[in-house]
């Protein structure tokens, strides 16, 4: 039997060009399948790790997922702001333990700027209820101070003391510079694997101060309020983008949600972040399943190609099988030989596909992180991937049984004299 397997390998090697092409198809199909699965799992993972310990996210009335996307992932744009009075009414509700206002809309060299309060660093949780940590410096204490996330610091080479300027609007260039009011970096946060890493945090008052001499999204001509005079103005914001709410008792969450959704002052929306994410998954679940199904079909096509290649080769190899038969190989040996060949190609293809997926994901990881905020972990294949890999190999085995069976039948019919 070992002799047969060794001969199978040598025989396969002699047809390496044909089999190689089949192998490439299987490798690519497996890579596609595994990549879809890996991105699916890692996207979920990184999204659901991004926020924890927040009972409610409050914003202007829009879709639950939209609210989540801009308030937590700083993705997309708020359609409306919420009034400061509304925020204060909610923050003052007896059921509320803490409330942190968020103000978005500015950027710094492509990174989102978040106007908030120093409380944010105390209350924000990610992953398994982990708190934010500073690798250097401390929270901002005065108007023109900023705290940057780990990736901002690493990519732009910032250290505590660095002076930066913010841009109005989102985008690499922004819609205008707040060049007259520079900020000083006073703190750098430890890496979290969440959007926090890609955020510049400043005080809520700083956002107001930046826009004192702006009207309608443009600098007011002829008006320039220098930073040193800013303190003379009332820097209390009139509106904010969203707020994060922590409650004293979790059991109050739905009562509080109802209170906010039925708020009299203005139309507001309160969502449970975990619920909104689940709804997002439900919404894109169909897309994911479709993608997985298409990838699975591609794998089946690849394996069908393998079967076809082996079957086509079999006719040319009738002599070879008869020779092996004369040398003492039984029909079972020939069955084994053909099946082993198919299984070998499939297994090799599946493993190379896994390697390619790992290589590809480590190459694509920075890009995915930057563009989509998805943290693609450099890690061992997950249970789902291994399961898919197992399925690919199992399907490959079934695909290989067909030529194996055919070789068996052929060897019985041909005996020692192949009929060609």
């Amino acid at each position: 039997m070992n002799a047969v397997l060794r001969l199978a390998a040598l025989s396969a090697w002699s047809r390496r060009l044909t089999l190689g092409l089949t192998l490439v198809a299987i490798v690519l199909a497996t890579t596609l399948l595994l990549a879809v699965e890996r991105i699916r799992v890692d996207a979920r993972q990184s999204f659901s790790q991004s926020v924890s310990g927040v009972d409610l996210v409050v914003g202007a009335r829009t879709g639950a997922v939209q609210l989540m996307l801009y308030a937590v992932f700083h993705s997309g744009a708020a359609s409306n702001n919420i009034g400061w009075n509304s925020y204060q009414a909610i923050a003052g509700h007896p059921a509320v333990d803490w409330a942190v206002p968020l103000s978005l809309g500015d950027s710094h060299r492509g990174f989102a700027v978040l106007g908030t309060r120093a409380d944010y660093f105390r209350h924000f949780r990610f992953g398994e209820h982990e708190a934010l940590r500073f690798t250097a410096g401390e929270p901002f204490a005065s108007v023109f101070e900023a705290v940057v996330g780990s990736e901002v610091a690493a990519r732009l080479g910032y250290a505590v003391g660095q002076e930066i300027t913010l841009s109005h609007g989102i985008g690499e260039t922004g819609m205008g510079e707040h060049g007259d009011k520079p900020f000083r970096v006073v703190g750098i946060l430890a890496a979290t694997g969440t959007p926090v890493d890609r955020t510049v945090h400043v005080g809520l008052e700083a956002i107001t101060a930046l826009h004192l001499d702006w009207v309608g999204g443009m600098p007011m001509p002829g008006l320039n309020i220098p930073p040193q005079l800013v303190a003379k103005f009332d820097l209390q914001p009139k509106e904010i983008t969203a707020a994060l709410i922590g409650l004293k008792q979790r059991s109050d969450v739905f009562r509080m949600q109802r209170f906010i959704n039925e708020f009299r002052g203005e139309p507001l929306l309160a969502v449970l972040p975990g619920v909104a994410l689940d709804e997002l998954w439900q919404a894109i679940g169909t897309v994911e399943r479709t993608l997985l199904a298409i990838s699975a079909l591609v794998v089946v096509v690849g394996l069908a190609g393998l079967t076809a290649t082996l079957l086509a080769g079999l006719n040319e190899r009738r002599r070879e099988l008869a020779i092996l038969r004369a040398l003492g190989a039984g029909p079972r040996d020939l069955f084994l030989m053909l099946t082993a060949e198919g299984l070998l190609v499939t297994t090799l293809g599946a493993l190379l596909g896994l390697a390619l997926t790992s290589l590809g994901s480590s190459l694509a990881a920075p890009w995915l992180l930057e563009r989509f905020g998805v943290v693609l972990g450099a890690r061992l294949p997950g249970a789902g991937e291994l399961e898919l890999l197992g399925l690919v190999i199992a399907t490959g085995l079934i695909a290989s049984l067909i030529p194996g069976w055919r070789a068996w039948r052929m060897s019985l019919a041909d005996g020692l004299t192949p009929r060609i």
Partner: protein, 231 residues
């Protein structure tokens, strides 16, 4: 004890009503070198398949080296074939992607007995056989596909002979060679067969070759089914 004894053999291919072989009696002595001839379609290949144990007769006995093949299960028949019979075919005898030397060594990977009987060791035995069969050493590592037909047949002969099988079955091994090379090849084959004391069945439709052999048998003399009766 005879090398081969066939009694009351009856064989019919599946899905065919008429038998293809009906041989009441046929016997070969050990070391005998027999020329078996018959027109194509007379059942020569079928008979060789039966001797090799890849097909089983519906009735009758085939005793090879005293072993009744019907007594063996299919796996054991495969083993028996590997251990005791060397085969030589018309052409395309070799695995094209193996070197000439590795082709010769093949029987030793399938049969422990032949590996053991290839003295002093399979590689040396293979090289000696190739040398005796006039194949120059430069050709040994070449892939079989790159050899000429005559060279291929000599490699095939070496493969059939390695490990001293008691039986050699050759099925039209010279039909792809020209007349001069046929003579040379048959001489080589007979010499080597004699050297190991093996029994040889040489099948051909070309009766001119019969002169070299101890005995000539026409298949239609021993087979009661006449050619033309089967397709």
């Amino acid at each position: 004890m005879s090398a081969l004894r066939i009694t009351d053999l009856l064989f019919r291919w599946p899905r065919q009503s008429a038998p293809c072989l009906d041989i009441p009696r046929f016997e070969l002595a050990r070391g005998e070198r027999v020329f078996l001839h018959g027109p194509s379609g007379s059942g020569k290949s079928t008979l060789l398949g039966l001797l090799g144990g890849v097909a089983v007769p519906q009735a009758g006995r085939i005793e090879l080296l005293g072993q009744d093949l019907a007594q063996l299960r299919s796996h054991a028949r495969d083993r028996f074939r590997a251990d005791h019979i060397g085969f030589l075919f018309q052409q395309f005898n070799l695995l094209p992607w193996l070197s000439a030397l590795d082709n010769v060594l093949l029987p030793c990977t399938f049969s422990a007995r032949r590996k053991q009987r290839a003295e002093p060791d399979p590689r040396t035995a293979a090289k000696r056989l190739l040398t005796q069969l006039d194949l120059v050493a430069e050709l040994w590592p070449q892939p079989a596909a790159e050899l000429s037909v005559g060279q291929q047949q000599r490699v095939a002969a070496a493969r059939a002979l390695i490990g001293q099988p008691e039986f050699l079955i050759a099925d039209e091994p010279t039909s792809a060679l020209d007349t001069e090379r046929q003579q040379i090849f048959i001489d080589l084959l007979l010499r080597e067969t004699a050297a190991v004391g093996a029994t040889l069945i040489f099948v051909s439709h070309d009766r001119r070759l019969a002169a070299h052999f101890d005995r000539t048998v026409a298949l239609d003399e021993i087979n009661r089914v006449k050619p033309g009766a089967v397709s």
